[in-house]
């Protein structure tokens, strides 16, 4: 199931893309379109959820330490 979703994702990424010219990317440049508009908030989110759940995101390997049990 997960593999099918991933393959579908790749299809969307590659086939679904329009040829968006640089001068058409104004909306994409808006701060709220960032994947992480607030890097500090994102870092703390990952740290807290990692400390309270059994899962972690792919980028949560560095930094280590839990701070709390």
């Amino acid at each position: 199931m997960q593999l099918k979703c991933m393959l579908l994702c790749v299809l969307v990424f590659t086939i679904g893309c329009e040829s968006v010219k640089p001068w058409q990317r104004g909306n994409l440049a808006r701060p709220e379109m960032s994947f992480a508009p607030d890097p500090l908030e994102r870092a703390l989110d990952e740290h807290i959820y990692f400390s309270k759940e059994a899962s972690s995101s792919g980028s949560a390997i560095s930094g280590g330490g839990c701070g709390c049990n």
Partner: protein, 391 residues
């Protein structure tokens, strides 16, 4: 900076902050420097009386309270290299779940530690991004954290390449860390001391501009942990007599995750929708799904509100039990609530106030979890901060 450069830079910054995904800096290095600060109060709810085991006189229902300060600086140090420095400090106090005991009626109740636990943690991360061409970038990172009973040292290396038309980016990242656990009062409680944990991770990411109002990214991540992966402060009740044994887990763990993110701008409502999903599984047979939905709504040109909802669901680890009626052949025991099966929902509301030189923000989160373990956590979080930009 022109609109064209802004668009490319925004895509770059957005993708980079995802971790491994999307490190396109298509237009090269920005001149802007950024300084950010955030203060957070994290407060866990007291354990309900109905789930609390009262027979241990030292045990406390008052759980963790943590105060966190975070700092971030990001700016160029040469024509092709950017430095990012982040640091954080945490001070914490409160009681922690110890083990699960059965009441005389056989109901699982949480035994807590005393509320005298006090600790502090400091974290430092450095990252250098070197832009060799308009479409190629190398990343070098270093991280170190230390607290009374734990220290961690990490290194990372990454590579990013975007297509000539700047529509697609691929990223590769490798990192590793070595941690040391030095449990407090190891002699008194026969806890582990000087134990080592190692981790090695690999990630592959892909991000794209789908159309002029839609960005998407995806990554697959693999991490191998080895060494001491148990919790030195937890016990498990084993046998009919209520004896306890130290938390003991396998000395290796492989984990895989797949992450998918989409950002959709809605021109008619002057807002952006954020959708994130993560599938996770590991060799301890924990499997989880995480969904997060956020709406960045611009009330005016200076005020923005951001409601978010996050749903998380996980299965329990293969060797986890609330308590063990008999010994296990493999010797693995853990009653840690974080290895139990549970669901969690969190709601967050954030307000951003934009000014000429940056943004000020305040955010509130409420996190609730639901499952059969009596020690599952509920917490709230209040954050205030700012992010400033200058040339």
């Amino acid at each position: 900076m022109g609109e064209k450069c802004k668009a490319l830079a925004a895509l770059t910054a957005a993708a980079m902050e995802l971790g491994v995904v999307g490190s396109v800096r298509a237009s090269g290095l920005e001149d802007t420097k950024r300084v950010s600060y955030k203060y957070t109060q994290y407060r866990e709810a007291d354990l309900p009386v109905s789930k609390f085991h009262t027979e241990n006189r030292l045990s406390s229902r008052s759980r963790y309270e943590i105060d966190i300060h975070q700092f971030l600086y990001q700016g160029p140090i040469s024509r092709s290299t950017e430095l990012k420095v982040s640091a954080s400090t945490e001070t914490m106090s409160g009681a922690s779940p110890w083990y699960v005991a059965r009441s005389s009626e056989g109901i699982p109740l949480q035994v807590m530690s005393g509320a005298t636990i006090s600790d502090s943690r400091t974290d430092l991360e450095l990252a250098l991004r070197n832009y060799t061409t308009a479409t190629r970038e190398y990343i070098y990172s270093f991280s170190y954290s230390t607290e009374n009973d734990y220290s961690s040292l990490g290194l990372g290396y990454g590579f990013s390449k975007s297509s000539e038309n700047q529509l697609h980016t691929i990223d590769l990242m490798a990192n590793g860390a070595i941690d040391q656990v030095d449990a407090t009062e190891a002699d008194v409680y026969d806890r582990k001391d000087g134990e080592i944990k190692r981790s090695i991770g690999l990630s592959f990411g892909f991000s794209s501009i789908i159309h002029q109002n839609l960005l998407m990214s995806s990554s697959i991540n693999y991490v191998l942990y080895s060494g001491y992966l148990s919790d030195p402060y937890k016990l498990a009740e084993v046998g009919e007599e209520g004896d306890t044994l130290p938390d003991s887990r396998p000395d290796n763990k492989n984990q895989f995750s797949w992450e998918l993110s989409a950002r959709r701008y809605l021109p008619t409502r002057d807002s952006a929708l954020h959708l994130d999903y993560r599938f996770y599984q590991n060799s301890w047979e924990v499997e989880s799904h995480t969904f997060e939905l956020g709406w960045y709504f611009n009330l005016t040109s200076n005020w923005q509100i951001v409601p978010k909802v996050r749903y998380y669901s996980q299965t329990n680890a293969a060797f986890y039990q609330l308590f063990y009626t008999s010994t296990r052949a493999d010797g693995y025991y853990s009653s840690d609530y974080r290895l139990s099966e549970f669901d969690a929902v969190s709601f967050k509301l954030k307000v951003n106030r934009k000014v000429d030189f940056g943004v000020f923000n305040i955010a509130l989160e409420q996190y609730n979890s639901d499952g059969s373990h009596p020690g599952l956590v509920e917490f709230n979080r209040l954050s205030v901060g700012f992010a400033l930009e200058f040339e």
